[in-house]
């Protein structure tokens, strides 16, 4: 399912002393099957974009096209639910949305709201719980007896069970330890590939953006600062650093090397392996390695 934001503007609290412009002239195309990362500081508009992706917020100007539906400020719309069925959002700290007596009921909650039968929802719950790396026994437990990490996974399962075409992730690994982080990110990547989903990741982690995304959008003060492939984005790290954003460690390290060696590598490396390859080549040129 294609998603497209066209000249989207969003103002919070219109006509109050707190009114402020959160998004200005934002245009982003997300063709079906894309893994898009949105990066930027807190307050850059990332989270506001995210809420436009399933019509929780409507643009105050411009339009958002989700599949064959158009969301604008103008009219009262009825079919928002059909949009939300197709676009699942994993909010930051999603464990805060758990409320049912059992894990199973909580996971079934979303699908059943969208008209899935109970038996089908239960089947999906079993599937989803395995997908997030938990065992089936957990389904009968109360979500509030679980550890923080497990609760996070259950909440994610609740979104997966909706079987959305598009999955939107808002800092899905915030507060997790390194192992948990990696497991969750790898899982979403697998899903993305296996089910041919569109994935939109809102993150602070340049590493994750570089590692997983096909496309990156850099937001700054409510506007699109830059968009392109990871390699394009990190090719000129200076601009990003001026905004006070990090660049991936690999890119930073490559820059340091290039400065010290007064050379320019053939490309901007976004993985450790690529960079090792380049360094290896550099040493080979001098002749001490074969």
């Amino acid at each position: 399912m294609d998603i497209s934001l066209q000249q989207v503007e969003y103002r919070y609290q219109v006509n109050s002393p707190f009114e402020h412009l959160a998004l200005e002239d934002v245009s982003i195309d997300i063709p079906s099957g894309t893994y898009l990362a949105i990066i930027g500081h807190t307050g850059s508009g990332k989270s506001t974009i995210l809420q436009h992706l399933n019509a929780i917020l409507k643009p105050t100007k411009g339009k958002v096209i989700i599949g064959d539906q158009e969301v604008t400020n103008a009219k009262k719309q009825k079919n928002l639910k059909s949009i939300r069925k197709k676009v699942g959002i994993v909010f930051q700290f999603p464990e805060h949305q758990l409320f049912e007596e059992t894990v199973e009921k909580d996971i079934c909650f979303g699908p059943m709201n969208f008209g899935v039968s109970e038996s089908e929802a239960k089947r999906r719950a079993r599937e989803a719980i395995l997908q997030v790396g938990l065992s089936e026994e957990i389904l009968a437990k109360s979500p509030f007896d679980l550890s923080g990490g497990q609760m996070r996974r259950v909440a994610i399962a609740g979104v997966l069970a909706m079987e959305p075409d598009v999955i939107v992730l808002d800092e899905p690994t915030a507060g997790l330890d390194p192992r948990g982080r990696k497991e969750i990110m790898d899982m979403f990547y697998r899903l993305h590939k296996d089910r041919n989903l569109s994935t939109i990741l809102v993150t602070h982690s340049m590493e994750d953006a570089a590692l997983y995304a096909d496309q990156i959008v850099v937001m700054h003060q409510g506007k699109v600062f830059k968009k392109g492939s990871p390699r394009e984005i990190f090719q000129s790290p200076v601009g990003l650093m001026e905004l006070g954003l990090d660049v991936p460690e690999v890119v930073r390290f490559q820059n340091k090397l290039e400065d010290t060696f007064h050379v320019k590598f053939s490309k901007t490396c976004v993985t450790l392996e690529e960079l090792t390859e380049e360094i290896h080549r550099l040493f080979k040129k001098v002749g001490e390695l074969t």
Partner: protein, 279 residues
Amino acid sequence: MTDAVVRIENVSFKYDGQSDFALNNVSLHINDGEWLAIVGHNGSGKSTMAKLLNGLQTPSEGSIQICGIELTEETVWDTRKQIGMVFQNPDNQFVGSTVQDDVAFGLENNGVPREEMVQRVKTSLEKVKMDKFLDQEPHHLSGGQKQRVAIAGVLALRPKIILLDEATSMLDPRGREEVLQTIRELKESNQMTVVSITHDLEEAAKADRIIVMNKGQLYREGTPEEIFQMDEELVELGLDIPFPVKMSKLLKSKGIPINKHYLTEEELVAQLWTSHSNK
């Protein structure tokens, strides 16, 4: 060897209704003026340690001494004066309605006279660079700013030790950097003892000493250099390896002449440069 400000001797602890020990026969000393990082994955027992040090839980076995005082129910309020805590969630430790009220909260509790309070609030907020935000309310502050205010609240009480219990884990990179920078500065100017409980190895890399916790036990202790040589073992413990170490390892496996795993990018670049130009 400097004096130990904290002595934990053979401490074990079990939460009510749990069969496993959250801490199992842990002994460790924290030295005056050092920065100690306690690392481990979630559930390794590191946060339980924080609760014990602050007297929020009492060990089932063993003893804890803080600045020479044995931690018991009677002395807990005295030992709390020696250890300032900064917790994980920036919102849930902000008691005051504004920045200055929050910093003053601990002083009020300890009955500090008003004139002195005003002075201390001012100087501690200057130290964390939040003195421009005196009347700001918490919901208008970023996570990093709230944590800095929490640090100021600790500083105002002038404890010997500041304990950061995953204080950066809920922050964005900018907030995290702010807080770490603040701690580094404090460490240099105030000679405080810093204990940071974390799973962020970048944070731990800045410490003088690291303790790795696993399954409620003290798994390993050493300087950051020593700890990061553990390599894959760290990954197995649910932790991560810092980038320069990962890079060094990969390069080495490719046959590029590197004699050890470097902890900083600068060292690694320098090493590469030397070996490159020597041949």
